[in-house]
Symmetry: C2
């Protein structure tokens, strides 16, 4: 029996610099941040999603098809995908087996004889629109998420009856897609099926799935979806991906498309397509990504904006976009081995992704702003001031669940020569017969200690990522300081490792003030605070009384003092940043004026900035990542 695997397992023939490990290779200790999130996902988020699928009527939609439920269709027309994503999460985690059994049976029963399965379009009222409105219908997007659930089933629990049932259902739907679209010029408005089909090919070896995915990637970009409400760039249908130079349109669509394109490219050896994906990744990262890793500057069409259009208050930064960006970065990391992709995964997991879930594991942000003003008009669920348990479009919570359930598979890779550690979390990593124990409370602590527990080869290379944010990395091996040579972003330690060998890596984490490119108009004159991979923010709940009484929006950072880390044994965050703030009392400026009026004397004080990902876990109040810097005292 082969070892269980995680998401994204390129075949042996694929373009691939690094190889994913088996799903059993990494164990994350629940005491660490990564392991803690994974544990919380299993105990809180995933059960919450299962409950919500019942409460919100997603399962009832499928039962309407089987004749086991009455009533109206519930939610958005792609509501099935929430079932599929929760199912995928359940397979990766190996829990929620009751739900898995029930959902697998329900899906099998609801499936049409020809393989079609989409409870919205199986509704007699909508049957005539089946396959007829692909720009809008999400039918293949829905198929894609079903297939992803099946891939998780096949890789996690190949011998499990429910898993086999889901694989069978998904293949039947995939086979229908192949029959119907193998020679078609059509494409779905929302990418997702591309990456799913490649993954299904990887699981089954059935080449038509890969060919169909490749076809869909190339079908797109010729205006086949029409203009829709927001124009063809919304769908990335305005020009072929191979020619595109800029990310555009709906962010999640763009990122899912790119993930699928990378999967196709590596499996077909298509270097041109891979280069296009790299080019678009660069375009997103160079000018359209928030400091949290979030992407999406526009609410109206959930879209990228113009270059450098990055408003912190109206950041859309959809949770699903952060997940999509993480998935894309992982694929590019595997293909190229370049550190920058792992850096981005780290930024995302500790900021953009982590912040989307509350400490309870059962409340979520759909959009993830970097600023919340006093008096925020949080009347929309896509821009609330507090996390919500669920959404009318509930794509994010189960997407978070499936990512967190497989989080351990993204931590490390292997190759013939050894082991590469990309994300640091307490736990153990086993690959190629070597086992390494990782002890750390990273990113609270700057030390990561690795102990070789067992080893099977005379000499192999342990590669450790030195994050791009780190200006001072130090290394001690078996008590002896060693030089850190990380010219390509990794320190590569080739040795005849012995059990008990100990590597102590220190990634110095002074508090940092970060500024944005001068073209990011929205944050001119401000700085962000960071420490290690964590972006910090100022939240009203942490202000001392004197500062809390002032208008939050008037607080400025005192430029004469540097922020410094403060360590705590209790409270929301083990490490906060002490910052000196000040604000003038009783400012009476008009909205626009010719000259600054006399500024009343400023009150000042010290406040604690908390990690961004922990905001909005206490009483509601304003927050900001980018803090204005006061003019130096005259």
């Amino acid at each position: 029996m082969t070892a269980p695997l995680g998401p994204v397992v390129p075949t042996a023939q694929a373009i691939s610099t690094l190889r994913p490990l088996s799903a059993e290779a990494v164990r994350l200790a629940p005491a660490g941040l990564l392991g803690g999130w994974q544990a919380r996902n299993e105990t809180a988020t995933l059960p919450h999603c299962v409950t919500q699928l019942d409460a919100a009527g997603n399962l009832a939609n499928l039962r309407r098809v089987t004749g086991d439920a009455d009533g109206d269709f519930n939610g958005f027309w792609f509501a099935d995908t929430d079932v599929h994503k929760t199912l995928e999460a359940a397979f990766w985690s190996g829990t929620a087996t009751g739900f898995v059994t029930e959902a697998a049976e329900l899906l099998e029963k609801a499936q049409d004889a020809d393989g079609y399965l989409d409870s919205y379009y199986q509704d007699p009222a909508n049957r005539d629109k089946q396959w007829a409105e692909l720009h809008f219908s999400h039918e293949m997007y829905t198929a894609g998420h079903l297939i992803q659930a099946a891939v998780a089933a096949a890789r996690s629990a190949p011998a499990d009856a429910a898993a086999q049932q889901v694989v069978q259902v998904a293949r039947k739907f995939a086979d229908l897609l192949v029959r119907r679209y193998a020679d078609s010029a059509e494409v779905d408005g929302h990418p997702e099926v591309e990456t799913a089909l490649v993954e299904l090919y990887r699981v089954t070896g059935h080449r038509p799935y890969l060919d169909l995915a490749a076809r869909f990637v190339d079908n797109r970009g010729h205006g086949v979806l029409g203009e829709g409400r927001f124009g063809s760039p919304y769908f990335q249908d305005h020009e072929p991906l191979r020619q595109a130079t800029e990310v555009t349109g709906h962010v999640v669509r763009q990122l899912y498309l790119l993930a699928g394109a990378v999967d196709v490219a590596v499996e077909t050896g298509d270097e041109q397509l891979l280069a296009a994906a790299v080019r678009l990744w660069d375009s997103a990262l160079d000018s359209r990504t928030y400091i949290t890793g979030g992407q999406g500057s526009r609410h109206r069409d959930e879209a990228y904006g113009d270059p450098y259009e990055l408003p912190p208050d109206r950041a859309y930064a959809e949770s699903c976009a952060a997940i999509g960006s993480f998935q894309l970065a992982w694929r590019l990391l595997l293909a190229t081995g370049e550190r920058k992709y792992a850096d981005e995964m780290e930024r995302l997991i500790y900021n953009g992704i982590a912040g989307s879930t509350g400490v309870d594991g059962a409340s979520f942000f759909y959009s993830n702003p970097l600023q919340l003003r006093t008096g925020h008009d949080g009347s929309h669920e896509d821009a609330p001031s507090q996390r919500l348990p669920w959404f009318s479009c509930a794509c994010c919570p189960p997407n978070l669940a499936r990512l967190m359930a497989s989080l351990h598979t993204y931590v490390a890779t292997g190759d013939a020569d050894g082991l590469q550690l990309h994300l640091y979390g307490a736990g153990t990593v086993t690959a190629g017969g070597h086992t390494v124990e990782v002890e750390t409370s990273y990113p609270w602590d700057e030390q990561v200690a690795l102990t070789v527990v067992s080893t099977s080869a005379p000499a192999w290379t342990l590669s450790l990522r030195i994050p791009g944010w780190c200006a001072d990395a130090r290394l001690v091996i078996n008590g002896r300081a060693e030089p850190v040579d990380a010219s390509d972003g990794y320190v590569r330690l080739r040795r005849e490792w012995q059990p008990g060998d100990r590597v102590e890596l220190t990634l110095a984490m002074p508090a940092r003030t970060v500024i944005a490119h001068r073209r990011v108009d929205a944050v001119r004159g401000t700085v962000a605070l960071a420490r290690g991979p964590l972006v910090y923010c100022l939240e009203h709940a942490d202000l001392p009384t004197a500062l809390a009484a002032l208008p939050f929006e008037d607080l400025e950072l005192d430029p004469a003092t540097e922020p410094a880390a403060a360590y705590h044994t209790t409270g929301l965050a083990p490490v906060t940043l002490r910052v000196h703030l000040r604000a003038s009392e009783g400012v009476t400026e008009t909205l626009y004026h010719d000259r600054p009026g006399p500024t009343p004397p400023a009150a000042g004080g010290v406040a604690a900035a908390i990690p961004y990902f922990l905001w909005a876990n206490r009483k509601p109040g304003p927050m900001r990542v980018w803090i204005p810097v006061a003019a130096p005292e005259a």
Copy 2:
């Protein structure tokens, strides 16, 4: 026969500090800016709208009802309103008589026997939804615009057959509304009928119209419209207007509601309601209005944002919102006589409103951003980089047409004691038997010369508004300098005026740099340029070669030099502002970084800033109102 009147004519019983003049009282000379716009509206915009109504199928929609056309319904379900607004514009201007005759007949023929008239809901496919989805249907909004056309008809051309036809149709619809909703708790999702019904009451004296308007104002605010897609604040239905303290939701709806509320308040003597409207106006002006007078910070729901949320790049600032704000300010000016409302009308007409139409008079902005970046993703018609001839939702062009056609009626008011001049444009003003000629090329020129042409009373008061932006007003009467006492915003000259008396008012217009309140994060570290009532902007087309070669977004204002006015006899603008700009060449900053890198030497030069309202009339390129200020040289 009574003199023709313009929009908004409170009855003699109304709360009213100032009285509008007859529609014949003011003649604007086409050589002036206001008169030129009005003339262009008559020769270009209005005929363009008439043509578009045919091309876009708005008239065909009505002909489908009369059985004179086939095919599908065209455009949005409230497409009739474009017909009504164009008709209103035609009545105010006294032109387009062919269209007026045709439209009047068509409306009469299309109207149901009970008075109902809405070509979307008269479609047999939609009949069952008539009156059944008021949160969405715009049926009363449509009725309101029909009534406004009828009010224009009655006031402009009471003896005209087509005008009488339109009045009859509108009254029949209004009577249906009274029968159906006089005791109802319902209300339309989009306000407009409130002000229309009060105006119809003013024309007809028929009290039930006023009562129904008052009822609609008070029906709103009790959640009667449901949550909809964006929550009840979107409709201003979350709390009664009388209790509200902040503007919220869809901007045009909020402003139209406030206009209607003021109309109701002044006619019913409802001081509480008037105070609520004043309070909400203040809330908009204090923290939610662009320097151009535009309102609306969010594209997603065409809405106000949080206080001080005023992004220049994503300014929605819908043209219709600027028009609504102008109409509201006029009503509050009449009610209170306070200068601030006239100041706002001036800011709007010269900036937010003027900028929405191209110099050709036949191209329009729907949204009016204050910044356009290099590489703007202008794929949406609501955020294009150039003006467009028409829109799928074409509310703005005919709205501009009806405002411009009646622009002369907003320039001056009268009272028992004389004449008040609020907006300065070349032309003549006649009221109370006095005629004054106004000679000026304001706002290009800072001099306004007024000559008394004829006069009928022994002593009367000529009141001249001293704009809030003006720090230096000077007055010469018959060659003699006089002190300027404008403690309430108006210099009030009471005299026994004689024909030939000459008043020379100088409103000094040095170039100004304007800064925004510290809480407007989006423009921190920048200034705007202004001169007189005009806001200026930097547009790529005006850059000298050396500066044009640099990234537009990197240009900064040199703080060591002051902008200065430059006068031109040809070109787009008679007065531009000379500014010293600089930018570093070859900036290679990353998107986020810990310390500013070494800044390469800066290239510098002088550029001409043009009035904001004239941007986007040459080759497309980036533009910005708020210009970053360079750090002083070390």
